[in-house]
């Protein structure tokens, strides 16, 4: 899936632009624009993660930490030091990049499971720090009073305004990532996923590519975290726990990790599941998530975006 068609992107962009207007026409789904802000924020993370998992074949169970670092750096710098939120956002992304490099570089040089465990351990450590460094983070009670965003005097102070801001970022990240996939680097990444020895024999610097993708995905998660903090104006550690990292994994697996559209579809479905449709299960939703992840892994190895292809080959076999 190296070529990404332009038409679906245009249709998708049109849908995204008109969605708040459409949602406001129907009272029952009037609040869906608000949920779509979160979908957009999670899309930023899953786009990066899908590149890491689907194209570089690496797994991270710690992206909640990068999401959290973005949110907390933005939160701390704006509330305690009164810095401009946009500058804080960039500082947060730089800090995240350095941390991701430190965590990722050693474990990505190793094979297989190591990045998964390293990111898992890293995620838990960061979660403990958010809870323990009360002077900085407010501890388990969280951190209130994070300012909203504005640009040249224009305040993003309503759901709809923030919606367009977030989705503009998503669109930019999507197009940028799609370009990476279609470039030489994308081919190199696919080669790494297919066969590391073969890729390396063709002169692909495997470790370097993996590290770049890992850092890129972490930076996107950090950006998402900053946007999250400025939207809710409040953050607390429980948003950034291990289960959120696993939820991100479920988004990617459900949507389909070999296709960047999978990242969008997965984020959309899982966000609506957890914000809207799973209230009935309350805290037992974790069973539903576990079941979804297991069933998808066994029966839909290519996720929902792989379903048309599966049906096609099934029909072909029938004939």
């Amino acid at each position: 899936m190296l070529q990404i068609a332009k038409l679906p992107i245009a249709i998708f962009a049109a849908l995204i632009i008109t969605f708040p207007w459409m949602a406001h026409q129907i009272p029952v789904i009037d609040h869906y624009a608000d949920i779509m802000v979160f979908v957009g924020i999670y899309c930023l993370i899953t786009i990066g993660l899908s590149l890491l998992m689907g194209y570089a074949g690496q797994i991270s169970v710690g992206h909640a930490a990068f999401f959290g670092i973005g949110a907390y750096v933005s939160g701390i710098l704006t509330t305690n030091y009164g810095l401009n939120p946009w500058i804080c956002m960039i500082i947060a992304m730089l800090i995240t990049a350095v941390i991701a490099l430190l965590v990722g570089a050693p474990s990505l040089k190793l094979k297989g499971h190591y990045l998964a465990m390293a990111t898992l351990a890293f995620g838990i450590i960061i979660f403990i720090i958010f809870n323990e460094e009360i002077e900085w983070t407010g501890g388990p009670d969280g951190m209130p009073g994070i300012p909203g965003l504005s640009l040249f005097g224009f305040k993003f102070d309503s759901v709809d305004k923030y919606y367009y801001l977030v989705w503009a970022f998503v669109l930019a990240a999507f197009i940028f990532t799609a370009n990476i996939i279609q470039s030489d680097a994308g081919r190199a990444l696919r080669a790494i996923h297919t066969s590391e020895p073969a890729a390396s024999a063709m002169g692909v610097d495997i470790a370097k590519f993996k590290i770049i993708v890992f850092v890129y995905s972490a930076v996107l998660a950090s950006l998402a975290g900053s946007l999250y903090a400025h939207y809710l104006n409040f953050i607390n550690p429980s948003t950034f726990d291990l289960f959120f990292s696993i939820k991100l994994l479920i988004m990617i697996a459900l949507g389909g990790m070999h296709n960047i559209w999978g990242a969008i579809i997965g984020a959309l479905l899982i966000t609506f599941l957890s914000y809207e449709w799973l209230h009935y299960f309350e805290e037992f939703e974790v069973i539903v998530y576990g079941a979804i992840l297991l069933l998808v892994t066994i029966f839909l190895p290519n996720g929902l975006v792989g379903v048309p292809e599966m049906l096609k080959s099934w029909v072909r076999r029938k004939n």
Binding site: G57, V61, H113, A118, I124, I287, A291, L294, P301
Partner: protein
């Protein structure tokens, strides 16, 4: 209140650390058994420990079965869960890759955790200590009798496993799969069965760890993930795949955690073991007793 001297305090930390470390060592051994046969890291390893503790509470406290009956019954039940894990989550995967296998064990782990919350709720459960709770004082350190049970069962597990792998045909067949699955298949070993057996064995050891640790630290539904990461840290520290390494790694991990919590910061208790895990990954991924050459042969 009598003052406790610094040395006896250190001794106390050491004893506590070795006890906790024995649990980590058992988890690490469980990781190694599955890793050696399948090259999978089973992220659901910690859930076996959690289930061991909670099922034991059900049999021993809930149904008032005597210890000698409740303990084996628990181990058998958790072993069945291990078998189910292989049959329902691992072997149905048609195109097994390291990525899908990791995801499958993660899925299984949150599924088991969710079901445990459904059955037992969120509260921690206590279990009576095997031989009472009258502490023994040695060199000023207070030692619970249960500590000896935990360390003792680690020794039993180690002896039983080394007899199994060195003296029995099935054990040798499993070691053969670990060395080279294709060659093992050629000489007529049923690799699928060996994989199933590795999950069963590893679940049983997890259950033993859970049953013995619950009287000391209670047990609740969401303990699994942390136990799994720390156990994995122990396995890595000792050298992934090495059984003596797992024991050594577990004990060192437990001691570091206990000293760290006692001397540095109790709020960061859980972080110490994880920092050690990261440090080992970064500086010596082959671990103390591991062999970097062997790890290069492994597929994953």
């Amino acid at each position: 209140m009598e003052t406790i001297s610094f040395t006896s305090q250190l001794f106390q930390y050491l004893i506590t650390g070795l006890t906790v470390g024995s649990v980590y060592a058992m988890v690490a051994v469980g990781f190694n058994i599955i890793y050696n046969v399948t090259e999978i890291i089973n992220f659901a390893q910690g859930e076996f420990v959690m289930l061991g503790g909670l099922i034991m509470v059900f049999f021993h406290v809930g149904m008032a079965l005597p210890l000698v009956l409740a303990f084996p019954a628990t181990v058998i039940l958790v072993t069945l869960v291990g078998i189910l894990l292989d049959r329902l989550a691992i072997s149905p995967i048609r195109q097994p890759s390291v990525l899908t296998l990791i995801i499958a064990t993660i899925a299984a782990s949150i599924l088991i955790k969710g079901i445990a919350m459904f059955i037992w709720g969120k509260d921690p459960f206590d279990l009576p200590a095997f031989s009472g709770r009258n502490p023994i004082t040695v060199m000023g350190a207070v030692i619970q009798p249960q500590y000896f049970w935990v360390i003792g069962f680690l020794i039993v597990v180690v002896i039983a496993l080394s007899i199994f792998f060195d003296r029995t045909i099935i054990g040798k067949a499993m070691s053969a799969c670990a060395d080279n699955a294709d060659a093992a298949k050629l000489v007529g070993i049923n690799v699928k069965q060996m994989i199933l057996l590795s999950f069963a064995l590893s679940a049983a050891i997890g259950a033993v760890a859970g049953v013995t640790m619950t009287p000391i630290s209670l047990m609740e539904y969401d303990r699994g993930a942390m136990l799994a990461v720390k156990g994995f840290g122990a396995a890595i520290l000792g050298g992934l795949g090495s059984f003596p390494g797992a024991i050594l790694g577990g004990l060192i991990m437990g001691a570091i955690e206990s000293f760290g919590a006692g001397l540095v910061s109790s709020g960061y208790k859980d972080a110490f073991a994880l920092i050690v895990l990261l440090a080992v990954l970064f500086f010596k991924p082959s671990g103390i007793l591991g062999d970097i050459e062997i790890s290069k042969i492994k597929r994953f």
